[in-house]
């Protein structure tokens, strides 16, 4: 029987593990935040896992990504240590940013993760810079800028599309369109129906995929990334996806339709879709996925335990690392 999937079996399991880890991470944060364990603002990626995972499977540590305020999924898919992420979100020493960044600023430059970003659209120029550096290095590396449909209206983002096209940068602009800019509908706030049209307006090829379809994302991302690696220049990739939770934790989501989230969870869950496809094709056994589910749960449980036990930063830490040298 011909292999129905564009990737090896172990990569399918790897993809599943990443998606499951993101889901567990976010579902757990949802609970712990409501309990009051977590300080600050937290924006969850649950429901959107297929996009980060399908794109990041094509990347290596030398490829850079500039993420968003909703960055946990990008971090996990890019290989940032889950325990360090959890410690960071708890504001603890030993966190990915020593407790000085928090959920909205998790970064791991060694993994090519240039940071979640609290400023919408601000990652796009940074990704252009990473792509420019990659171009000078000449090793075929790429940079990916993630924005939501909300930040797709930011001047910084639109300027970056033009700059990337003018300089022919190996940059991919991923619009994670989950239908809402905070509480405001995408259809209200974005004047064009199609991001492909918007990309064309800046001289970039654009492609739209169903962001809940892992394989659709994987194949579309693979194509634009391959082209960028080969010097073919930038592209825009729109992933139409869904948000299981609110804009931030604590959002009552009264702007959403009655039964909307329940329906999405039942019928548009990217992980359920993935399972049905790989199990249905007989390539992966349900027991294998269940084992990964258990491991992901244990991983997150350990991360939370470690985060709670980790020491808080000290008064000395307040004043360090403002400059390399001052």
């Amino acid at each position: 029987m011909a292999d129905p999937f564009p990737m090896k079996r172990e990569d399918l399991l790897r993809a599943y593990r990443t998606m499951r880890t993101i889901r567990e991470f976010e579902e757990r944060l949802h609970v712990d935040f409501a309990r009051g364990d977590i300080p600050g603002f937290v924006h969850l990626y649950a429901g959107e896992e297929a996009a980060a995972t399908g794109i990041m499977l094509h990347l290596n540590d030398g490829d850079r990504i500039a993420s968003t305020h909703r960055g946990h999924g990008h971090c996990i898919a890019k290989g940032v240590d889950v325990a360090e992420m959890m410690k960071e979100i708890y504001g603890k020493k030993g966190g990915a940013c020593q407790g000085k960044g928090g959920s909205m600023h998790i970064a791991d430059l060694d993994r090519g993760m240039m940071g979640a970003n609290g400023i919408l659209g601000a990652g796009a120029p940074l990704a252009c810079g990473a792509a420019l550096a990659a171009k000078y290095r000449g090793k075929g590396e790429v940079a990916i800028s993630f924005v939501g449909d909300g930040a797709s209206n930011q001047g910084m983002f639109l300027e970056s599309l033009n700059l990337a096209a003018v300089w022919n940068l190996p940059a991919i602009f991923v619009v994670e369109n989950n239908g809402y800019a905070e509480s405001t509908s995408r259809d209200y706030a974005v004047a064009v129906d199609s991001y492909v049209d918007r990309a064309a307006g800046f001289g970039l090829p654009g492609v739209t995929v169903d962001g809940t379809d892992f394989f659709g994302v994987y194949e579309a991302a693979g194509e634009v990334i391959r082209r960028a690696r080969g010097g073919g220049g930038p592209a825009l990739l729109e992933c139409k996806m869904i948000r299981f939770f609110g804009h931030f934790e604590g959002d009552q989501q009264t702007y959403r339709g009655r039964g909307e989230v329940e329906d999405l969870r039942a019928n548009q869950d990217c992980i359920k879709k993935f399972n049905a496809q790989v199990v249905g094709a007989g390539v992966v056994k349900p027991a294998e996925l269940e084992a990964i589910d258990r491991e992901a749960k244990e991983l997150i449980e350990r991360a939370v335990t470690e985060a709670k036990a980790a020491p808080a930063p000290t008064a000395q830490d307040l004043l360090t690392d403002v400059y390399v040298r001052y």
Partner: protein, 338 residues
């Protein structure tokens, strides 16, 4: 060997020598080559004032003309700095910072701290500051205090060709983001500049004129106004010491305190607006650190709390003058505030 060259040529030489020394140094900005994609000369402008003219012939694709798109290219310079390059981005006028400010104060300035110490952002933003060109409200501001306020940024503003070269070389080699402020009225100023590359550490003020009666602390174009005032005052027997801060962040307060301890009088001069200015900052810090040394009130000479006016008559009134500085010295010496 030292020769007399202009600040413009000193900056050009610093860029040239650092680009030759370090292949990770790239230079980008609007019209910094000039003529990209145009039918005429490729290296047409070399920057709006010709500072980068000729570098393209030597370094070609390491000089990048940009679209008029400050957020995108300043952000790209910062992003490239996070990925192993040492970009120098030219922002024609500091007034344009408004359109790309996020990339500087929320991105470049924060990475090191916000990412727990892991990031390095060795980027330089070269930008023109100051009034005197009849360029009106949106092309003439100092704005140095705004950047000095922000932790994570360094702010430099040279007043001589020697300092311009040495401070720019240091800024390019520096691992933190630096806002390098070039006063537009000083590009033609000539002075002794050694040909060989040299770096002047950031955060070291210099005493440009020694004196025992009153300290005048300033930076940039105002160093020359202060020196002019000091020369006039000397004829009256008032012996002023002029301190050029050179770098506003980091700030060499020790040199200022040392001078005030010697003279007992202080006049702070700033071409920026008075509120939350460098002059106000120095005044407050001196009061905190050296109050017993002060024999009278501190005087401040700054631009007024107004936008920069266009009319030459008004602009000349706007810019602090040597006469105003001399009057302030008299007030400080007599202990009689205005």
């Amino acid at each position: 060997m030292a020769r007399k060259i202009s600040i413009k040529d000193a900056i050009h030489e610093a860029l040239d020598q650092e680009m030759a020394r370090d292949p990770s140094v790239i230079v980008m900005g609007e019209d910094i080559v000039g003529g990209a994609g145009s039918p005429g000369e490729r290296d047409a402008w070399g920057g709006v004032l010709g500072v980068t003219k000729g570098l393209y012939a030597k370094y070609s694709d390491r000089l990048l003309d940009t679209p008029l798109s400050e957020s995108a290219y300043v952000g790209a310079a910062i992003g490239a700095a996070c990925c192993g390059m040492r970009p120098v981005a030219e922002l024609m006028f500091i007034d344009f910072m408004g359109v790309c400010f996020d990339q500087l104060f929320n991105q470049a300035a924060k990475f090191k701290y916000m990412f727990g110490g892991k990031a390095r952002t060795p980027v330089v933003i070269r930008t023109m500051v100051g009034a005197g060109f009849r360029a009106a409200a949106q092309h003439s501001q100092m704005l140095t205090p705004i950047f000095t306020h922000i932790p994570g940024l360094k702010v430099v503003c040279p007043s001589t060709p020697y300092d311009a070269k040495g401070l720019l070389i240091q800024s390019i080699r520096d691992d933190d983001p630096v806002i390098f402020c070039e006063h537009k009225a000083l590009y033609g100023l000539e002075g002794d500049v050694p040909e060989a590359p040299y770096a002047i550490p950031l955060g070291e003020a210099t005493v440009v004129r020694e004196g025992r009666s009153c300290s005048i602390v300033t930076y940039g174009m105002m160093v020359h106004r202060a020196t002019e005032a000091a020369a006039a005052l000397a004829k009256e027997g008032v012996d002023c010491e002029v301190v050029d801060l050179r770098s506003l962040s980091p700030l060499d307060l020790d040199t200022v305190i040392e001078s005030v301890e010697k003279t007992g009088h202080l006049v702070c001069v700033d071409e920026a607006h008075p509120r939350c200015s460098i002059a106000a900052d120095i005044s407050a810090q001196v009061v905190q650190r050296a109050f017993p040394s002060l024999r009278a009130q501190i005087e401040m000479v700054t631009a007024p709390h107004t936008p920069v006016p266009f009319s030459p008559v008004l602009e000349d009134l706007y810019i602090p003058s040597a006469k105003q500085i001399a009057e302030a010295v008299h007030r400080a010496m007599s202990g009689a505030p205005r």
